[in-house]
Amino acid sequence: MRIDKVLLVFRKDWAELRRNWQVVLPIVLLPLMISMSLPMILNSLSNSITMPGSALGTFEIIIRNLPYQTRREVEGMTYPQATIYMISIYLIAPVFLTIPILTSSVIASDSFAGEKERRTIEALLATPMSDAELFMGKVLVAFVPSVTITAGSSIVYSIATDLILSGLFNGRLLFPNPIWILVTFGLAPAIAIASIGLTVMISLRVKGFREAQQLSAFLMIPIMLLTFVQVSGVMILGSVIMLGSIVLFLMIDAILLYHGVEAFKRDEILSKLA
Protein backbone atom coordinates (compact mmCIF):
# COMPACT_ATOMS: atom_id res chain seq x y z
CA MET A 1 0.00 0.00 0.00
CA ARG A 2 1.43 3.38 -1.06
CA ILE A 3 0.94 6.08 1.59
CA ASP A 4 1.12 8.91 -0.98
CA LYS A 5 -1.89 7.43 -2.80
CA VAL A 6 -3.81 7.02 0.47
CA LEU A 7 -3.11 10.68 1.25
CA LEU A 8 -4.10 11.67 -2.29
CA VAL A 9 -7.56 10.12 -1.82
CA PHE A 10 -7.76 11.71 1.63
CA ARG A 11 -6.89 15.19 0.25
CA LYS A 12 -9.43 14.85 -2.57
CA ASP A 13 -12.23 13.74 -0.26
CA TRP A 14 -11.29 16.36 2.32
CA ALA A 15 -11.42 19.14 -0.31
CA GLU A 16 -14.86 17.90 -1.35
CA LEU A 17 -16.09 17.52 2.19
CA ARG A 18 -15.17 20.98 3.41
CA ARG A 19 -17.16 22.54 0.57
CA ASN A 20 -20.26 20.52 1.42
CA TRP A 21 -22.03 22.67 4.01
CA GLN A 22 -24.90 20.19 4.29
CA VAL A 23 -22.42 17.75 5.80
CA VAL A 24 -20.04 20.15 7.56
CA LEU A 25 -22.60 22.26 9.46
CA PRO A 26 -24.32 19.48 11.45
CA ILE A 27 -21.09 17.69 12.30
CA VAL A 28 -19.44 20.87 13.59
CA LEU A 29 -22.35 22.77 15.11
CA LEU A 30 -24.08 19.95 16.97
CA PRO A 31 -21.02 18.86 19.00
CA LEU A 32 -20.18 22.51 19.68
CA MET A 33 -23.69 23.18 20.96
CA ILE A 34 -23.57 20.07 23.15
CA SER A 35 -20.20 20.97 24.65
CA MET A 36 -21.27 24.58 25.35
CA SER A 37 -24.73 23.85 26.70
CA LEU A 38 -23.94 20.91 29.00
CA PRO A 39 -21.85 22.94 31.50
CA MET A 40 -24.67 25.50 31.71
CA ILE A 41 -27.22 22.74 32.36
CA LEU A 42 -24.91 21.30 35.04
CA ASN A 43 -24.71 24.71 36.69
CA SER A 44 -28.48 25.07 36.88
CA LEU A 45 -28.75 21.48 38.17
CA SER A 46 -26.31 22.27 40.95
CA ASN A 47 -28.66 25.00 42.14
CA SER A 48 -31.67 22.68 42.21
CA ILE A 49 -30.17 19.52 43.73
CA THR A 50 -31.01 20.41 47.30
CA MET A 51 -34.51 21.60 46.44
CA PRO A 52 -37.26 19.41 47.89
CA GLY A 53 -38.57 16.88 45.35
CA SER A 54 -35.50 17.14 43.09
CA ALA A 55 -35.11 14.09 40.83
CA LEU A 56 -31.40 14.12 41.62
CA GLY A 57 -32.16 13.02 45.19
CA THR A 58 -31.83 9.41 44.04
CA PHE A 59 -28.15 10.04 43.28
CA GLU A 60 -27.38 9.52 46.92
CA ILE A 61 -28.00 5.79 46.45
CA ILE A 62 -25.78 5.67 43.37
CA ILE A 63 -22.97 7.51 45.15
CA ARG A 64 -23.26 5.16 48.14
CA ASN A 65 -22.92 2.12 45.88
CA LEU A 66 -20.00 3.42 43.84
CA PRO A 67 -16.97 1.16 43.45
CA TYR A 68 -14.26 1.91 46.03
CA GLN A 69 -11.92 3.63 43.57
CA THR A 70 -14.64 5.96 42.27
CA ARG A 71 -16.05 6.64 45.75
CA ARG A 72 -12.61 7.91 46.81
CA GLU A 73 -12.83 10.58 44.10
CA VAL A 74 -15.87 12.15 45.76
CA GLU A 75 -14.66 11.79 49.33
CA GLY A 76 -14.83 15.06 51.18
CA MET A 77 -17.30 16.57 48.70
CA THR A 78 -20.70 17.89 49.66
CA TYR A 79 -23.72 16.05 48.23
CA PRO A 80 -24.33 18.65 45.43
CA GLN A 81 -20.61 18.63 44.57
CA ALA A 82 -20.47 14.82 44.43
CA THR A 83 -23.63 14.63 42.31
CA ILE A 84 -22.42 17.23 39.79
CA TYR A 85 -18.96 15.61 39.76
CA MET A 86 -20.49 12.20 38.94
CA ILE A 87 -22.71 13.63 36.20
CA SER A 88 -20.05 15.83 34.61
CA ILE A 89 -17.31 13.19 34.63
CA TYR A 90 -19.10 9.86 34.26
CA LEU A 91 -22.65 10.31 32.97
CA ILE A 92 -21.82 12.85 30.29
CA ALA A 93 -18.89 10.83 28.92
CA PRO A 94 -21.14 8.55 26.79
CA VAL A 95 -22.78 11.63 25.28
CA PHE A 96 -19.39 12.56 23.86
CA LEU A 97 -18.95 9.05 22.55
CA THR A 98 -21.90 9.64 20.23
CA ILE A 99 -19.95 12.45 18.51
CA PRO A 100 -17.40 10.20 16.74
CA ILE A 101 -20.26 7.90 15.72
CA LEU A 102 -22.34 10.75 14.36
CA THR A 103 -19.53 12.54 12.53
CA SER A 104 -17.72 9.52 11.17
CA SER A 105 -20.91 7.84 9.93
CA VAL A 106 -22.02 11.04 8.16
CA ILE A 107 -18.62 11.53 6.51
CA ALA A 108 -18.05 7.86 5.71
CA SER A 109 -21.49 7.42 4.16
CA ASP A 110 -20.98 10.58 2.09
CA SER A 111 -17.54 9.41 1.02
CA PHE A 112 -18.44 5.80 0.16
CA ALA A 113 -22.18 5.64 -0.64
CA GLY A 114 -22.25 9.32 -1.75
CA GLU A 115 -19.59 8.68 -4.36
CA LYS A 116 -21.69 5.81 -5.72
CA GLU A 117 -24.82 7.96 -5.69
CA ARG A 118 -23.13 10.88 -7.48
CA ARG A 119 -21.75 8.39 -10.00
CA THR A 120 -18.20 9.62 -9.58
CA ILE A 121 -16.88 6.28 -8.43
CA GLU A 122 -16.31 4.74 -11.86
CA ALA A 123 -13.52 7.13 -12.85
CA LEU A 124 -11.96 6.75 -9.41
CA LEU A 125 -11.98 2.96 -9.67
CA ALA A 126 -10.46 3.16 -13.15
CA THR A 127 -7.26 4.69 -11.74
CA PRO A 128 -4.27 2.46 -11.00
CA MET A 129 -4.71 2.81 -7.24
CA SER A 130 -5.27 -0.42 -5.34
CA ASP A 131 -8.51 -1.27 -3.54
CA ALA A 132 -6.70 -1.00 -0.19
CA GLU A 133 -5.31 2.47 -1.02
CA LEU A 134 -8.74 3.78 -2.00
CA PHE A 135 -10.32 2.21 1.08
CA MET A 136 -7.74 3.55 3.53
CA GLY A 137 -7.88 7.05 2.02
CA LYS A 138 -11.61 7.10 2.54
CA VAL A 139 -11.38 5.69 6.07
CA LEU A 140 -8.84 8.41 6.91
CA VAL A 141 -11.08 11.22 5.67
CA ALA A 142 -13.85 10.04 7.98
CA PHE A 143 -11.50 9.33 10.90
CA VAL A 144 -9.45 12.54 11.10
CA PRO A 145 -12.35 15.04 11.24
CA SER A 146 -14.43 12.90 13.60
CA VAL A 147 -11.56 12.49 16.08
CA THR A 148 -10.64 16.18 15.76
CA ILE A 149 -14.23 17.29 16.34
CA THR A 150 -14.59 14.95 19.32
CA ALA A 151 -11.34 16.20 20.84
CA GLY A 152 -12.31 19.81 20.17
CA SER A 153 -15.75 19.34 21.73
CA SER A 154 -14.22 17.60 24.71
CA ILE A 155 -11.74 20.43 25.24
CA VAL A 156 -14.48 23.07 24.92
CA TYR A 157 -16.64 21.11 27.39
CA SER A 158 -13.74 20.75 29.85
CA ILE A 159 -12.84 24.45 29.78
CA ALA A 160 -16.48 25.57 30.00
CA THR A 161 -17.21 23.17 32.86
CA ASP A 162 -14.13 24.30 34.80
CA LEU A 163 -15.06 27.93 34.29
CA ILE A 164 -18.78 27.62 35.06
CA LEU A 165 -18.51 25.20 37.98
CA SER A 166 -15.40 26.65 39.63
CA GLY A 167 -17.64 28.41 42.17
CA LEU A 168 -19.38 25.19 43.18
CA PHE A 169 -16.05 23.37 43.65
CA ASN A 170 -14.40 26.32 45.41
CA GLY A 171 -11.87 26.89 42.63
CA ARG A 172 -10.98 23.21 42.19
CA LEU A 173 -10.75 22.20 38.53
CA LEU A 174 -12.52 19.01 37.38
CA PHE A 175 -10.60 18.84 34.11
CA PRO A 176 -8.25 17.58 32.79
CA ASN A 177 -9.42 14.23 34.09
CA PRO A 178 -7.87 10.80 33.40
CA ILE A 179 -11.27 9.30 32.49
CA TRP A 180 -11.88 12.04 29.93
CA ILE A 181 -8.38 11.71 28.51
CA LEU A 182 -9.13 8.02 27.96
CA VAL A 183 -12.57 8.84 26.50
CA THR A 184 -11.25 11.50 24.13
CA PHE A 185 -8.00 9.99 22.97
CA GLY A 186 -8.66 6.28 23.47
CA LEU A 187 -12.26 5.17 23.33
CA ALA A 188 -13.59 7.86 20.94
CA PRO A 189 -11.03 7.12 18.17
CA ALA A 190 -11.60 3.37 18.63
CA ILE A 191 -15.38 3.88 18.37
CA ALA A 192 -14.87 6.16 15.34
CA ILE A 193 -13.01 3.40 13.50
CA ALA A 194 -15.70 0.86 14.36
CA SER A 195 -18.36 3.29 13.17
CA ILE A 196 -16.49 3.90 9.91
CA GLY A 197 -16.01 0.17 9.40
CA LEU A 198 -19.70 -0.53 9.86
CA THR A 199 -20.76 2.45 7.73
CA VAL A 200 -18.49 1.23 4.94
CA MET A 201 -20.02 -2.25 5.08
CA ILE A 202 -23.49 -0.70 4.94
CA SER A 203 -22.49 1.83 2.25
CA LEU A 204 -21.23 -0.89 -0.04
CA ARG A 205 -24.59 -2.61 0.11
CA VAL A 206 -26.90 0.38 -0.31
CA LYS A 207 -27.32 2.76 -3.24
CA GLY A 208 -27.45 6.17 -1.54
CA PHE A 209 -25.68 7.92 1.31
CA ARG A 210 -28.93 8.71 3.13
CA GLU A 211 -29.73 5.01 3.44
CA ALA A 212 -26.20 4.38 4.69
CA GLN A 213 -26.46 7.23 7.19
CA GLN A 214 -29.84 6.07 8.52
CA LEU A 215 -28.66 2.50 8.99
CA SER A 216 -25.46 3.68 10.66
CA ALA A 217 -27.58 5.42 13.32
CA PHE A 218 -28.14 1.99 14.89
CA LEU A 219 -24.60 2.30 16.23
CA MET A 220 -25.91 4.82 18.75
CA ILE A 221 -27.88 2.11 20.57
CA PRO A 222 -24.97 0.56 22.58
CA ILE A 223 -23.78 4.03 23.61
CA MET A 224 -27.27 5.02 24.77
CA LEU A 225 -27.40 1.76 26.72
CA LEU A 226 -24.15 2.70 28.42
CA THR A 227 -25.76 5.94 29.64
CA PHE A 228 -28.81 4.10 31.02
CA VAL A 229 -26.63 1.48 32.71
CA GLN A 230 -24.70 4.24 34.48
CA VAL A 231 -27.79 6.21 35.49
CA SER A 232 -29.33 3.06 36.94
CA GLY A 233 -26.17 2.53 39.01
CA VAL A 234 -25.47 -0.92 37.60
CA MET A 235 -22.04 0.09 36.30
CA ILE A 236 -19.77 3.11 36.21
CA LEU A 237 -17.45 3.86 33.29
CA GLY A 238 -14.32 3.70 35.45
CA SER A 239 -10.76 3.46 34.20
CA VAL A 240 -10.72 -0.37 34.22
CA ILE A 241 -13.95 -0.65 32.22
CA MET A 242 -12.70 2.15 29.99
CA LEU A 243 -9.42 0.37 29.22
CA GLY A 244 -11.31 -2.88 28.66
CA SER A 245 -13.70 -1.09 26.28
CA ILE A 246 -10.78 0.40 24.35
CA VAL A 247 -9.20 -3.03 23.92
CA LEU A 248 -12.57 -4.52 22.92
CA PHE A 249 -13.21 -1.78 20.37
CA LEU A 250 -9.69 -2.08 18.96
CA MET A 251 -10.35 -5.76 18.35
CA ILE A 252 -13.71 -4.92 16.72
CA ASP A 253 -11.87 -2.26 14.64
CA ALA A 254 -9.34 -4.79 13.40
CA ILE A 255 -12.12 -7.20 12.37
CA LEU A 256 -14.20 -4.49 10.70
CA LEU A 257 -11.24 -2.96 8.85
CA TYR A 258 -10.17 -6.38 7.63
CA HIS A 259 -13.67 -7.15 6.37
CA GLY A 260 -13.99 -3.60 5.00
CA VAL A 261 -10.87 -4.01 2.85
CA GLU A 262 -12.15 -7.45 1.79
CA ALA A 263 -15.58 -6.04 0.89
CA PHE A 264 -14.19 -2.98 -0.94
CA LYS A 265 -13.80 -4.64 -4.32
CA ARG A 266 -14.14 -2.75 -7.57
CA ASP A 267 -16.00 -5.66 -9.07
CA GLU A 268 -18.60 -5.77 -6.30
CA ILE A 269 -19.16 -2.00 -6.28
CA LEU A 270 -19.60 -1.64 -10.02
CA SER A 271 -21.62 -4.83 -10.42
CA LYS A 272 -24.18 -3.28 -8.10
CA LEU A 273 -24.21 -0.11 -10.23
CA ALA A 274 -24.61 -2.06 -13.48
Binding site: L8, E16, R19, T120, A123, P128, S130, L270
Partner: protein, 314 residues
Protein backbone atom coordinates in the same frame (compact mmCIF):
# COMPACT_ATOMS: atom_id res chain seq x y z
CA UNK B 1 0.25 -5.95 -34.21
CA UNK B 2 -2.78 -6.40 -31.96
CA UNK B 3 -3.17 -3.91 -29.15
CA UNK B 4 -6.34 -5.48 -27.76
CA UNK B 5 -7.18 -9.18 -28.09
CA UNK B 6 -10.48 -10.32 -26.66
CA UNK B 7 -11.29 -14.02 -26.57
CA UNK B 8 -14.66 -15.39 -25.47
CA UNK B 9 -15.23 -12.60 -22.95
CA UNK B 10 -18.38 -13.25 -20.94
CA UNK B 11 -20.00 -11.48 -18.02
CA UNK B 12 -23.03 -12.68 -16.11
CA UNK B 13 -25.02 -10.74 -13.51
CA UNK B 14 -27.02 -13.49 -11.84
CA UNK B 15 -29.15 -15.01 -14.61
CA UNK B 16 -28.51 -12.13 -16.99
CA UNK B 17 -25.75 -12.57 -19.55
CA UNK B 18 -24.59 -9.03 -20.26
CA UNK B 19 -21.66 -10.04 -22.48
CA UNK B 20 -21.76 -13.39 -24.22
CA UNK B 21 -18.51 -14.92 -25.51
CA UNK B 22 -17.33 -11.77 -27.24
CA UNK B 23 -14.18 -12.09 -29.34
CA UNK B 24 -12.42 -9.41 -31.38
CA UNK B 25 -9.06 -7.79 -31.78
CA UNK B 26 -7.96 -4.22 -32.30
CA UNK B 27 -4.71 -3.29 -33.98
CA UNK B 28 -2.28 -0.75 -32.58
CA UNK B 29 -3.40 2.76 -33.53
CA UNK B 30 -6.74 1.54 -34.86
CA UNK B 31 -10.06 3.22 -34.07
CA UNK B 32 -12.45 0.35 -33.48
CA UNK B 33 -16.14 1.05 -33.05
CA UNK B 34 -18.57 -0.89 -30.92
CA UNK B 35 -22.19 -0.24 -31.85
CA UNK B 36 -25.33 -1.59 -30.33
CA UNK B 37 -28.62 -0.61 -28.71
CA UNK B 38 -28.94 0.22 -25.01
CA UNK B 39 -28.24 -2.86 -22.90
CA UNK B 40 -26.24 -4.54 -25.67
CA UNK B 41 -23.25 -5.01 -23.35
CA UNK B 42 -20.98 -2.23 -24.64
CA UNK B 43 -20.40 -0.54 -21.28
CA UNK B 44 -19.92 -3.88 -19.50
CA UNK B 45 -17.31 -4.82 -22.12
CA UNK B 46 -15.45 -1.56 -21.59
CA UNK B 47 -15.63 -2.02 -17.82
CA UNK B 48 -14.10 -5.49 -18.13
CA UNK B 49 -11.35 -4.26 -20.46
CA UNK B 50 -10.58 -1.35 -18.11
CA UNK B 51 -10.30 -3.87 -15.24
CA UNK B 52 -13.22 -2.36 -13.36
CA UNK B 53 -15.13 -5.62 -13.28
CA UNK B 54 -13.82 -9.10 -13.85
CA UNK B 55 -15.09 -11.41 -16.58
CA UNK B 56 -17.13 -14.49 -15.69
CA UNK B 57 -15.41 -16.33 -18.55
CA UNK B 58 -12.91 -15.70 -21.31
CA UNK B 59 -9.84 -13.49 -21.44
CA UNK B 60 -8.48 -10.27 -22.87
CA UNK B 61 -4.96 -9.02 -23.42
CA UNK B 62 -4.24 -5.31 -23.67
CA UNK B 63 -0.78 -4.25 -24.83
CA UNK B 64 0.49 -7.65 -23.67
CA UNK B 65 -1.12 -7.50 -20.22
CA UNK B 66 -3.86 -9.83 -19.03
CA UNK B 67 -6.94 -8.07 -17.67
CA UNK B 68 -7.29 -10.47 -14.76
CA UNK B 69 -3.70 -10.95 -13.58
CA UNK B 70 -2.22 -7.56 -14.52
CA UNK B 71 -5.02 -5.13 -13.80
CA UNK B 72 -2.93 -2.35 -12.18
CA UNK B 73 -0.59 -2.21 -15.20
CA UNK B 74 -3.56 -2.03 -17.57
CA UNK B 75 -5.15 0.82 -15.59
CA UNK B 76 -1.87 2.73 -15.94
CA UNK B 77 -1.84 2.57 -19.73
CA UNK B 78 -5.57 2.91 -20.38
CA UNK B 79 -7.57 6.13 -20.49
CA UNK B 80 -11.29 5.85 -20.05
CA UNK B 81 -14.20 8.14 -20.74
CA UNK B 82 -17.05 6.60 -18.84
CA UNK B 83 -20.73 6.62 -19.72
CA UNK B 84 -21.31 9.08 -16.85
CA UNK B 85 -18.83 11.93 -16.68
CA UNK B 86 -17.67 10.92 -13.17
CA UNK B 87 -16.37 14.36 -12.23
CA UNK B 88 -16.18 15.85 -8.75
CA UNK B 89 -18.61 18.73 -8.92
CA UNK B 90 -17.41 20.51 -5.78
CA UNK B 91 -13.80 20.48 -6.93
CA UNK B 92 -12.55 22.95 -9.49
CA UNK B 93 -11.69 22.02 -13.07
CA UNK B 94 -7.98 22.16 -12.21
CA UNK B 95 -8.38 20.17 -8.98
CA UNK B 96 -10.18 17.40 -10.86
CA UNK B 97 -7.38 17.22 -13.40
CA UNK B 98 -4.66 17.41 -10.75
CA UNK B 99 -6.23 14.60 -8.71
CA UNK B 100 -6.55 12.22 -11.63
CA UNK B 101 -3.15 13.15 -12.96
CA UNK B 102 -1.55 12.18 -9.63
CA UNK B 103 -3.74 9.10 -9.31
CA UNK B 104 -2.47 7.94 -12.70
CA UNK B 105 1.09 8.39 -11.50
CA UNK B 106 2.14 11.66 -13.16
CA UNK B 107 4.36 12.45 -10.21
CA UNK B 108 6.54 15.23 -11.60
CA UNK B 109 4.83 18.49 -10.59
CA UNK B 110 6.14 20.54 -13.54
CA UNK B 111 5.21 17.83 -16.03
CA UNK B 112 1.77 17.53 -14.45
CA UNK B 113 1.15 21.28 -14.55
CA UNK B 114 2.31 21.45 -18.17
CA UNK B 115 0.12 18.52 -19.26
CA UNK B 116 -2.98 19.83 -17.50
CA UNK B 117 -2.43 23.31 -18.96
CA UNK B 118 -1.99 21.85 -22.45
CA UNK B 119 -5.22 19.82 -22.22
CA UNK B 120 -7.30 22.59 -20.65
CA UNK B 121 -6.10 25.02 -23.33
CA UNK B 122 -6.95 22.53 -26.06
CA UNK B 123 -10.46 21.98 -24.72
CA UNK B 124 -11.04 25.71 -24.11
CA UNK B 125 -11.31 25.17 -20.37
CA UNK B 126 -8.23 27.04 -19.18
CA UNK B 127 -10.22 30.17 -18.36
CA UNK B 128 -12.56 28.05 -16.23
CA UNK B 129 -9.80 26.21 -14.37
CA UNK B 130 -10.66 27.80 -11.03
CA UNK B 131 -14.41 27.19 -11.31
CA UNK B 132 -16.17 24.32 -9.55
CA UNK B 133 -17.14 21.63 -12.05
CA UNK B 134 -20.75 21.90 -10.89
CA UNK B 135 -20.98 25.32 -12.54
CA UNK B 136 -19.97 24.05 -16.01
CA UNK B 137 -22.37 23.25 -18.83
CA UNK B 138 -22.90 19.62 -19.85
CA UNK B 139 -20.75 20.05 -22.95
CA UNK B 140 -17.90 21.56 -20.92
CA UNK B 141 -18.10 18.68 -18.45
CA UNK B 142 -17.90 16.23 -21.32
CA UNK B 143 -14.78 17.99 -22.62
CA UNK B 144 -13.27 17.93 -19.14
CA UNK B 145 -14.02 14.20 -18.82
CA UNK B 146 -12.27 13.70 -22.16
CA UNK B 147 -9.29 15.78 -20.97
CA UNK B 148 -9.13 13.67 -17.81
CA UNK B 149 -9.02 10.47 -19.89
CA UNK B 150 -5.93 11.84 -21.69
CA UNK B 151 -4.10 13.33 -18.71
CA UNK B 152 -1.55 10.49 -18.45
CA UNK B 153 -0.94 10.07 -22.21
CA UNK B 154 -2.59 6.63 -22.42
CA UNK B 155 -1.66 4.27 -25.23
CA UNK B 156 -5.19 2.77 -25.24
CA UNK B 157 -8.39 4.78 -24.99
CA UNK B 158 -11.84 3.50 -24.14
CA UNK B 159 -14.42 6.09 -25.10
CA UNK B 160 -18.05 5.60 -24.19
CA UNK B 161 -20.16 8.09 -26.13
CA UNK B 162 -17.47 10.81 -26.41
CA UNK B 163 -19.55 13.34 -28.35
CA UNK B 164 -22.76 13.06 -26.37
CA UNK B 165 -24.02 16.46 -25.16
CA UNK B 166 -21.58 18.39 -27.34
CA UNK B 167 -22.43 21.06 -29.91
CA UNK B 168 -21.43 20.35 -33.53
CA UNK B 169 -18.21 22.34 -33.25
CA UNK B 170 -17.09 20.57 -30.10
CA UNK B 171 -18.10 17.19 -31.54
CA UNK B 172 -15.91 17.86 -34.54
CA UNK B 173 -13.05 18.91 -32.29
CA UNK B 174 -13.30 15.61 -30.38
CA UNK B 175 -13.51 13.61 -33.62
CA UNK B 176 -10.43 15.39 -35.00
CA UNK B 177 -8.60 14.75 -31.75
CA UNK B 178 -9.43 11.04 -31.79
CA UNK B 179 -8.17 10.82 -35.37
CA UNK B 180 -4.99 12.69 -34.47
CA UNK B 181 -4.33 10.45 -31.48
CA UNK B 182 -4.74 7.39 -33.65
CA UNK B 183 -2.65 8.62 -36.57
CA UNK B 184 0.16 10.53 -34.87
CA UNK B 185 0.48 8.87 -31.47
CA UNK B 186 -0.58 5.35 -32.48
CA UNK B 187 -3.12 5.43 -29.69
CA UNK B 188 -5.56 2.52 -29.94
CA UNK B 189 -9.17 3.65 -29.53
CA UNK B 190 -12.19 1.54 -28.64
CA UNK B 191 -15.19 3.73 -29.33
CA UNK B 192 -18.71 2.99 -28.12
CA UNK B 193 -21.28 5.20 -29.70
CA UNK B 194 -24.88 5.57 -30.73
CA UNK B 195 -23.86 8.20 -33.25
CA UNK B 196 -23.44 6.16 -36.37
CA UNK B 197 -22.01 9.10 -38.28
CA UNK B 198 -19.17 9.23 -35.72
CA UNK B 199 -18.46 5.54 -36.25
CA UNK B 200 -18.67 5.89 -40.01
CA UNK B 201 -16.29 8.85 -40.07
CA UNK B 202 -13.79 7.63 -37.50
CA UNK B 203 -13.64 3.87 -37.30
CA UNK B 204 -11.60 1.66 -39.56
CA UNK B 205 -13.70 -1.27 -38.33
CA UNK B 206 -16.88 -1.56 -36.36
CA UNK B 207 -18.50 -4.37 -34.43
CA UNK B 208 -22.25 -4.46 -33.95
CA UNK B 209 -23.23 -6.08 -30.66
CA UNK B 210 -26.67 -7.07 -29.48
CA UNK B 211 -27.60 -8.92 -26.31
CA UNK B 212 -23.92 -9.20 -25.49
CA UNK B 213 -23.06 -10.98 -28.73
CA UNK B 214 -20.89 -9.97 -31.65
CA UNK B 215 -23.36 -9.82 -34.54
CA UNK B 216 -20.86 -8.76 -37.19
CA UNK B 217 -17.49 -7.03 -37.57
CA UNK B 218 -16.09 -5.21 -40.58
CA UNK B 219 -15.37 -1.84 -42.13
CA UNK B 220 -18.39 0.51 -42.15
CA UNK B 221 -18.62 0.10 -45.97
CA UNK B 222 -18.44 -3.68 -45.78
CA UNK B 223 -21.17 -3.82 -43.18
CA UNK B 224 -23.38 -1.51 -45.23
CA UNK B 225 -23.06 -3.68 -48.31
CA UNK B 226 -23.15 -7.03 -46.53
CA UNK B 227 -26.19 -6.30 -44.40
CA UNK B 228 -28.25 -3.58 -46.00
CA UNK B 229 -27.76 -4.71 -49.60
CA UNK B 230 -25.91 -3.57 -52.67
CA UNK B 231 -25.54 -0.10 -54.11
CA UNK B 232 -28.46 1.16 -56.17
CA UNK B 233 -28.78 3.59 -59.06
CA UNK B 234 -31.26 6.33 -58.32
CA UNK B 235 -32.63 8.15 -61.40
CA UNK B 236 -34.91 11.14 -60.95
CA UNK B 237 -37.07 12.13 -63.94
CA UNK B 238 -39.26 15.10 -64.65
CA UNK B 239 -42.12 12.71 -65.40
CA UNK B 240 -42.53 8.94 -65.20
CA UNK B 241 -44.14 7.05 -68.08
CA UNK B 242 -44.59 3.35 -68.88
CA UNK B 243 -42.33 3.59 -71.92
CA UNK B 244 -39.51 5.05 -69.83
CA UNK B 245 -39.87 2.37 -67.14
CA UNK B 246 -39.94 -0.38 -69.79
CA UNK B 247 -36.84 1.05 -71.44
CA UNK B 248 -34.91 0.76 -68.19
CA UNK B 249 -36.20 -2.74 -67.49
CA UNK B 250 -35.12 -3.78 -70.98
CA UNK B 251 -31.57 -2.44 -70.50
CA UNK B 252 -28.83 -5.02 -70.33
CA UNK B 253 -27.65 -6.23 -66.85
CA UNK B 254 -30.55 -4.57 -65.00
CA UNK B 255 -31.80 -6.98 -62.35
CA UNK B 256 -34.67 -5.02 -60.79
CA UNK B 257 -36.37 -1.65 -61.03
CA UNK B 258 -38.30 -0.11 -58.15
CA UNK B 259 -40.62 2.73 -59.08
CA UNK B 260 -41.28 5.65 -56.78
CA UNK B 261 -44.17 7.47 -58.49
CA UNK B 262 -44.45 10.09 -55.78
CA UNK B 263 -40.92 11.43 -56.32
CA UNK B 264 -40.68 10.35 -59.98
CA UNK B 265 -37.71 8.14 -59.16
CA UNK B 266 -36.46 4.81 -60.45
CA UNK B 267 -34.25 2.67 -58.21
CA UNK B 268 -32.21 0.32 -60.32
CA UNK B 269 -30.41 -2.76 -58.98
CA UNK B 270 -27.64 -4.22 -61.10
CA UNK B 271 -24.12 -5.57 -60.97
CA UNK B 272 -21.26 -3.25 -61.81
CA UNK B 273 -23.30 -0.04 -61.71
CA UNK B 274 -20.27 2.11 -62.51
CA UNK B 275 -19.92 0.72 -66.04
CA UNK B 276 -23.59 0.23 -66.98
CA UNK B 277 -24.96 3.57 -65.73
CA UNK B 278 -24.12 5.46 -68.98
CA UNK B 279 -25.91 2.75 -71.01
CA UNK B 280 -29.04 2.98 -68.87
CA UNK B 281 -29.04 6.79 -69.13
CA UNK B 282 -28.69 6.52 -72.93
CA UNK B 283 -31.63 4.05 -73.14
CA UNK B 284 -33.75 6.37 -71.00
CA UNK B 285 -33.04 9.43 -73.11
CA UNK B 286 -33.80 7.42 -76.27
CA UNK B 287 -37.16 6.45 -74.77
CA UNK B 288 -37.98 10.16 -74.26
CA UNK B 289 -37.19 10.38 -70.53
CA UNK B 290 -36.23 13.81 -69.18
CA UNK B 291 -33.59 13.12 -66.50
CA UNK B 292 -33.11 15.61 -63.67
CA UNK B 293 -30.73 13.58 -61.53
CA UNK B 294 -28.60 10.42 -61.44
CA UNK B 295 -27.04 9.13 -58.24
CA UNK B 296 -25.44 5.88 -57.10
CA UNK B 297 -26.40 5.34 -53.47
CA UNK B 298 -24.36 3.27 -51.06
CA UNK B 299 -26.13 1.58 -48.11
CA UNK B 300 -24.97 3.40 -45.00
CA UNK B 301 -23.76 1.99 -41.72
CA UNK B 302 -27.04 3.23 -40.31
CA UNK B 303 -28.98 1.05 -42.79
CA UNK B 304 -26.82 -1.90 -41.83
CA UNK B 305 -27.17 -1.25 -38.12
CA UNK B 306 -30.93 -0.85 -38.22
CA UNK B 307 -31.34 -3.87 -40.44
CA UNK B 308 -29.24 -6.00 -38.11
CA UNK B 309 -30.80 -4.82 -34.87
CA UNK B 310 -34.39 -5.07 -36.13
CA UNK B 311 -34.23 -8.23 -38.18
CA UNK B 312 -31.05 -10.06 -37.20
CA UNK B 313 -28.19 -10.85 -39.57
CA UNK B 314 -28.98 -11.54 -43.23
Amino acid sequence: MSSITVDGLTRRFGDLIAVDHLSFDVKEGEIFGMLGPNGAGKTTTIRMLACLISPSEGSAIIEGHDIVSDSIKIRQIVGILTETQSLYERLTVYENMAFFSEAYGVSNTDHRRERIGELLEFFDLWERRGHPVGTLSRGMKQKLAMARALVHNPSVLFLDEPTVGLDPEASRMIRDLIQKLSQHQKCTVLLCTHRLEDAERLCSRVMIVNRGRNMITGTPQELGERIAGRRTLEITLRELSESVIEAVRASRHVEAVDVNNLESKLLVTADDLDSITPEIVKDLVSAGGLITGVNITRPSLEDAYLSLIREGPT
